[in-house]
């Protein structure tokens, strides 16, 4: 840690800047993000996010894993949106192989991806108020998460790392009666969501902490490549599900939740409203799944090899755009698989977002960027 100390001889009121490290071990950083701040009293002069403390070399590991093993690794970089992460990988491989995924699998995938989005958002809807002092929303958010996790677990066997996607479809058919139970769970969550909504959205203390704090302009959001709820809260109306539909989103009417203020409260509201949208989408998908019969995967050769070529598959992950650039030389492993993660781009925006803000607002802003450190460091 360097300490900059300016000692004035004449000017008595001159202050010295202090360099302060937040993290890498700080509870508000959700893990090991380190921020190097230069402070002038209570005010942040500059901020430099230092990433890489949780670098696990996922991209390099992809090069030594076959396409089924990659799914295991891919669902771990952003551990809150495992299903969506898997999805990008299999979409890329399927595109290179020219595989046609059965319709039933497409709709099931869409339903599960939306359920995973709800799970991810609920986590942040619980943890964000907690970070700025409201502990209760956590309990409500986790009650809903539990309900949905039970549904995901029944189908895939996992509660976080589902490992349910395979090249060409899904691992296996869902259990009998699962769609009905999933629908019941969605209804239950939708019925109880007003609890979470009422307890925090219009809470005066919460609003005082978040309104007008950490305003990200649409231009800055675009410049840093921010995406997802963080960018949409700034008025950047961009959602891949509507703008470049993959899976079954083309046949669905995807309402995109946006705000214009770009402050912490707008980011929180974007996420909260997105939960309702995703619940509706998941419900619509499940209705379609019940009308479609047929297999959920295709028969693959013993050794799955993507033909020579390259492709870029991007998906609208809960936290923003997640992309995989897959380069194959026709082997059973990719020659290179580049990973573009949402959190990495979103966190960079802190460089312009934090200067000028006060240290007490720092946690409120940091939490509202909704990042997962694994997703930053890969």
């Amino acid at each position: 840690m360097t300490r900059e100390l300016t000692i004035g001889t004449g000017a008595g009121l001159e202050t010295s800047d202090m360099v302060l490290n937040i993290g890498p071990q700080h509870p508000s950083t959700h893990g090991v993000l380190r921020l190097k701040l230069v402070l002038d009293g209570e005010r942040v002069v500059s901020c430099e996010p230092i990433v890489g403390y949780m670098h696990r070399g996922a991209e390099k590991l992809f090069e030594a894993r076959d396409y089924r093993q990659i799914i295991v690794l891919a669902n771990r970089h952003d551990w809150l949106s495992a299903f969506n992460n898997e999805l990008g990988v299999v979409l890329a491989v399927e595109r290179l192989m020219g595989l046609e995924v059965p319709e039933r699998a497409v709709w099931l995938r869409t339903a599960l991806a939306e359920l995973n989005r709800v799970l991810n958002h609920l986590m942040f809807l619980g943890s964000y108020p907690l970070e700025i002092g409201a502990i209760t929303p956590m309990f409500y958010a986790f009650r809903e998460r539990e309900t949905l996790q039970a549904v995901m677990e029944e189908a895939s066997g996992g509660r976080m790392h589902y490992m349910f996607n395979r090249v060409g479809g899904l691992k296996e058919e869902v259990p009998a009666g699962w769609t009905k139970r999933a629908r019941l769970a969605i209804d239950e969550v939708r019925r109880r969501m007003p609890d979470l909504d009422n307890i925090i959205r219009r809470n005066e203390i919460f609003m005082a902490r978040t309104r007008g704090v950490g305003v990200l302009t649409p231009a800055e959001a675009a410049a840093f490549g921010a995406s997802g709820p963080v960018a949409r809260a700034s008025g950047l109306d961009f959602d891949l599900r509507r703008d470049e539909p993959y899976l079954a989103y083309g046949e669905l009417d995807v309402p995109v939740v946006t705000r214009t203020t770009g402050d912490c409260h707008a980011r929180f509201e974007c996420m909260l409203d997105q939960v309702y949208v995703s619940l509706d989408l998941a419900q619509a998908c499940l209705d379609r799944v019940d009308q479609i019969s047929g297999p959920v995967n295709v028969r693959l050769p013993k050794v799955v090899k993507a033909p020579e070529g390259h492709t870029y598959a991007w998906t609208e992950n809960p936290l923003g755009i997640n992309g995989y650039y897959l380069v194959s030389r026709g082997d059973r492993t990719p020659w290179r698989m580049k990973l573009r993660t949402a959190s990495y781009a979103n966190v960079q925006a802190l460089t312009t977002l934090l200067p000028g803000t006060l240290v007490p607002d720092l946690i409120a802003i940091l939490g509202s960027m909704f990042f997962v450190v694994g997703d930053i460091d890969k």
């Binding site: 066997g157 259990p175 959205r201 005066e204």
Partner: protein
């Protein structure tokens, strides 16, 4: 700010009051067993008799946490001209401190020797104690639940189709003209 001052707080407190009148949502875990679905990935159980030491699971494992040792034995089969060679399993161990619970080994096993069990109470004080040998893995076999039936709209399980094929009476050979 809109509405009455303090309205947001009051709304929140109303939720708290409403919740107070309801039963708690939590389960008292050690006293109440969690109700886990049959597909739940708790632990990997080994059915030793089915293992032919083909090593597919160990090779397919993304972090190579399965250890297999074997030796060859000669088995004299009555009626056969020469004694046959058979692989005998000496050691089958899974290091659960490395295992990522992906289930690829179970998928890869061509002889149904590995199964998922929802059993999860096997934590240890020392990370080295999480390396479980075939005896321990076999102990989990009785906890393996029957797989759930597939959704009638989807395809039935592979096992079901092959069992139905076996059970069906053999089709009579086409009459020769």
């Amino acid at each position: 700010m809109n509405g009455v001052p303090g309205g947001g707080l009051a709304k929140g407190l109303a939720v708290t009051l409403k919740t107070m009148t309801k039963r708690a949502h939590t389960h008292q875990y050690p006293d109440v067993e969690p109700d886990l679905p049959p597909r739940s990935r708790g632990v990997i159980a080994l059915l030793e008799e089915n293992c032919t030491v083909c090593m597919l699971c160990a090779r397919e494992c993304p972090d190579w946490c399965i250890y297999i040792d074997s030796h060859k034995e000669e088995v004299v089969v009555p009626g056969a001209a020469r004694p046959r060679q058979r692989n005998m399993l000496d050691r089958f161990a899974i290091d659960f401190s490395l295992c990522m619970y992906c289930g690829i080994c179970i998928e890869a096993c061509p002889f149904d020797a590995l199964y998922w069990s929802p059993e999860f109470e096997y934590s240890e004080y020392d990370i080295r104690d999480l390396l479980h040998e075939k005896e321990r893995l076999g102990e989990w076999m009785p906890t393996v639940p029957a797989p759930p039936a597939h959704d009638p709209n989807g395809e039935p399980a592979k096992e079901e189709t092959s069992a139905a094929k076996k059970a069906a009476p053999p089709t009579p050979p086409a009459p020769s003209i």
